[in-house]
């Protein structure tokens, strides 16, 4: 580490502090000297007149917006005097705009917005693509949103089980792969930035993701942004971002309970289940006539949450407990998790949110199965291998919409992970911290919105396998959104990052981005974006010196370069809402036990087509060097790689909400430019589809996921020659909704299809789960 580099870093620290000071000096100046008024009103259902709680209200041409209270009412103060359009939107309703609303000096203008229901249950506002609220069709990159309804309809242990029903999204052993960007990199590093409420949730050591640290029951929605995002988010966001938005405390006291219990069926081949004797459900039920015997291969969970408002302070607290025997040897786990969220609303435009989350996971562990004829068993010496993993996360956000032209956000977060192995061949441990701060300012200037900010992040790891290691990241970013006309928007932005590995090296990155959105008419949106992304190597990838199940991961102190990528994407999105009058229309069901008549087919359709292309440089992957032996691997910068492909998504519904369906197809062509081979752990074709039918109080749902055979894998000790098959997974569910009580029965992997995503690790076999939800 040269003296010059040290000076550069010190200079950047100083520059950041000066920037914050300047910001503090400038803000009052910008906010002064304006004449102001306010706007208030209600948002109601156009059909029933019922007030709508949680509707988003935005004043167009300003940075101000708010959400309605339980009475459907809202208030937006500090508006400049003038004439504005006011827009209200909410999931399940068509957005509504009230034009030419006059804001008068020191007066309150009242309006009422009536929203028409729509069948599409998709959130319309997203925040992740630009770090500001925007309509999904205004985003210049592909954005998918998984709603709370999608998540609550399925009983899952980890959130990734739901997200895998999204086009182009797959997970191998916890690692996110967006459109073939990652494949599987042995749980080290992530080319997709995972965030909770806009705060990164990336481990301090491996740079990986712990899904069990995310409180599934408290998720409001998940925004998935595909394409290079480093221009705003820096390292890790080279292939996209996944932002998990947790729900806000409710304005009224509310207590929720969720109980779930499930069991594993026998594998399709009885010889694979011999290890478990008669622990499978069917053995117990039919051979021993005991319905819920002890020691069955089963899983259960309980989640409790309470939320209320005390004055200006909203409080949400949850506690969860989950336990599973697993469907294979060493597949068991025992988990606790707790979350507390506190939101203080000083005014409609000023709030402070503090969220704390803790999770403890004690689970069995193994690397590869015993053998192909005993794939649910592990090598004898690994029996009893365990990992104890504790995570704690605290993040806080202060948001202030100063006036219609200026808003700023201050963020800080701490994420601590502590894991310890209890393996037959080692008892390694690591304590890691990730600490980050960010200041962001949004300024409206004529037809332009400037977003700029600064970030400081540090990672620290103290471990037997890495030693004591520290990294520092400093960044400044800026983005300009220019509206040439209501139909045409141009986005230009860039970010400058310095990544320092203490006592080893430092690296700098400039990540520009360009986006163009053209909306020639209502419902149609063309988009084009191009950007640069990067990912700095994690502490584990450089320093890890560990032996796992006979494989030795060797440190690589020469791994100093970040991996980089240029990405281009173009796409078109088309929404169709048709009100087709059919006359009296009768729909009957199986045996006609239920029957309803409607006069409208009301088809609604959203179709989206995307073409994408990425070129990677210095890609970090597992590899060999002359110093290594057959059972030794290390992470290293490989050569160039290219990925290109297309994605088609269609979402539609019929019969006033009652029947909805979606299908997504992703084709990728990822190639190692040096070897000419396909990149490891990628499926060329991927299809996700789902159908949901609602009648009376019952919902029937069906999901299906297909991925073509993974063509290339790392050949560790001959495992590359093992048979691999395509993935065919079918899930089904039936939900009975009795208002405050909901009961569901789900079957997962109903065809009991056996497959691997990484070699010698069988994915979950068929299992069933019963869930009871009750709201008080």
């Amino acid at each position: 580490m040269s003296r010059t580099k040290n000076n550069i870093l010190e200079n950047w620290k100083v520059a950041f502090l000066i920037g914050l000071l300047l910001l503090g000096m400038v803000l009052p100046g910008v906010t002064q000297g304006e004449v102001r008024g306010k706007i208030s009103g209600r948002v109601v259902d156009a059909k029933t007149g019922e007030p709508l709680f949680g509707a988003n209200v935005m004043v167009k041409g300003t940075l101000l917006g708010t959400a309605t209270d339980p009475d459907g009412q809202f208030l937006i103060p500090n508006l400049p005097v003038g004439i504005f359009d006011v827009e209200a939107s909410m999931m399940g309703y068509k957005k509504k705009q009230k034009k030419d609303v006059r804001i008068l000096l020191e007066q309150e203008t009242e309006i009422t917005l009536r929203l028409e229901p729509t069948a599409l249950q998709q959130p319309t506002l997203v925040i992740t693509a630009t770090k500001r609220k925007q309509h999904i069709e205004d985003a210049s990159t592909s954005v998918d949103v998984v709603s709370r309804a999608d998540i609550q309809a399925r009983s899952v242990t980890n959130l990734d089980e739901v997200l895998q029903n999204t086009a182009g999204f797959s997970v191998i052993d916890g690692q996110i792969d967006l459109r073939g960007s990652t494949g599987f990199n042995w749980a080290a590093g992530s080319r997709v930035l995972l965030m909770v409420d806009g705060h990164p949730l990336i481990n301090g050591d491996t740079g990986g993701i712990n899904w069990d640290a995310i409180p599934v029951e408290e998720v409001e929605r998940v925004e998935i942004v595909k394409g290079a995002g480093s221009a705003l988010y820096g390292s890790n966001a080279m292939a996209g971002m996944v932002n998990i938005i947790t729900r806000d405390p409710t304005p009224y006291p509310e207590t929720r309970v969720k109980l779930s219990w499930g069991f594993y069926d026998k594998p399709a081949y009885s010889e694979w289940g011999l290890w478990a004797e008669d622990r499978f459900f069917s053995d117990k039920l039919f051979n021993r006539a005991r319905l819920i015997p002890r020691h069955m291969l089963s899983f259960e969970g309980i989640d409790l949450s309470h939320s209320r408002q005390i004055g200006k302070v909203g409080i949400l607290f949850t506690l969860g407990r989950k336990r599973s025997s697993g469907y294979e040897q060493n597949g068991d786990f025992s988990r606790w998790n707790a979350l507390g969220k506190l939101k203080v609303r000083f005014s409609p435009q000023k709030s402070l949110t503090i969220t704390g989350n803790w999770a403890l996971d004690d689970h069995g562990d193994f690397l590869q199965w015993l053998s192909k004829d005993r794939p649910l068993e592990v090598p004898e010496e690994e029996l009893g291998n365990r990992v104890r993993y504790e995570k704690a996360n605290l993040h806080t956000t202060f948001q202030h919409g100063v006036n219609g032209r200026l808003a700023y956000t201050l963020k800080a977060n701490v994420y601590r992970c502590h894991w310890k192995n209890f393996f037959y061949d080692n008892e390694d441990y690591a304590i890691t911290d990730r600490i980050g701060t960010e200041a962001q300012v949004d300024v409206l200037w004529g037809k332009q919105i400037f977003t700029f900010g600064s970030e400081i992040t540090t990672h620290h790891a103290n471990s037997m396998i890495y030693g004591n290691r520290d990294t520092w990241d400093f960044a400044v970013y800026g983005e300009d959104e220019l509206k040439f006309s209501p139909a045409l928007t141009l986005i230009l932005g860039t970010r400058y990052d310095i990544h320092k590995i203490v006592n080893l090296s430092s690296d700098q990155q400039i990540s520009p981005r360009m986006g163009l959105v053209y909306r020639p008419w209502e419902g149609t949106s063309f988009r084009l974006s191009a950007g640069h992304g990067f990912r700095a190597p994690s502490i584990a990838e450089i320093f890890a010196d560990i032996t796992v199940s006979g494989f030795h991961v060797v440190p690589n102190l020469d791994l100093k370069k970040a991996e980089r990528a240029w990405s281009v994407e173009t796409g078109v999105r088309q929404a169709l809402n048709l009100n087709l009058y059919t006359g009296p229309y009768t729909t009957s069901f199986w045996g006609n036990p239920f029957r309803w008549t409607t006069e409208h087919l009301n088809p609604h359709l959203i179709a989206d087509l995307t073409l994408f292309w990425s070129l990677y440089n210095n890609m970090i992957d597992v590899g060999m060097s002359p110093e290594l032996s057959m059972a030794e691997v290390q992470f290293m910068n490989l050569g160039k790689a290219r990925n290109r492909g297309l994605e088609v998504k269609i979402t539609g519904s019929l019969l006033d909400y009652h029947l909805s369906a979606n299908v997504g197809y992703t084709l990728i062509d990822p190639k190692n430019m040096d070897t000419g081979k396909m990149l490891n752990y990628r499926s060329r074709h991927r299809i996700v589809t789902g159908v949901e039918l609602r009648f009376w109080r019952i919902t029937l749902g069906w999901d299906y996921r297909y991925a073509s055979r993974i063509e290339e894998v790392v050949n560790l000790l001959g495992s590359g020659f093992d048979e691999r098959v395509p993935m065919h997974v079918m899930d089904g569910r039936i939900i009975l909704d009795l208002g405050s009580t909901q009961i569901s029965l789900e079957g997962k992997n109903l065809r009991n299809y056996h497959y691997t995503l990484r070699q010698r690790f069988l994915e979950p076999i068929r299992h069933f789960v019963v869930t009871l939800r009750r709201k008080f």
Partner: protein, 166 residues
Amino acid sequence: MKRLTPLGIILVFAAMVSCYQGHGLSPPGKTQGIQGRVTFVGTWPDTTKEVWVVVLENYPEGITDENELLLFVLENYVNSCLVPLFVDYHDYQLDIPKPGTYAWVLVAWFPDIENYFLGVKELGAYYKDPEQLDFPTPINVLPGVVLDGIDIVADLANINRETPFF
């Protein structure tokens, strides 16, 4: 259209996908593999650490760069077994995960040094005709068949002789 039954559509669609039979991966049939005798010629060096019988899918013809060669070995590795040290001969048996043709069955010797992988030497390989030593003889492994007679002569006397690769 008016008598359209949405549930019927769903069931037909689900049935179309579900009618795909099979459960993906299945238990292996009768295992295929190779077996034979490794006969050691000469005196065992005291510096011997390990000796392996190794099967590789292809032969690294034309590769001279050390890095490329190691990468080649990693990518073409099929299976291996350890051979007891200081014996005159050893009868081995090796499973081959997938039927097919495999180009190089060799005996590899590792010295007892730090970074011992760098000191690897080829003691011998499978040659059907001992007079034709230009290229090792490829073996053709058929499903469920254990191919017998894959005998190898391991030359300990000339451990430092020139070999194409190690």
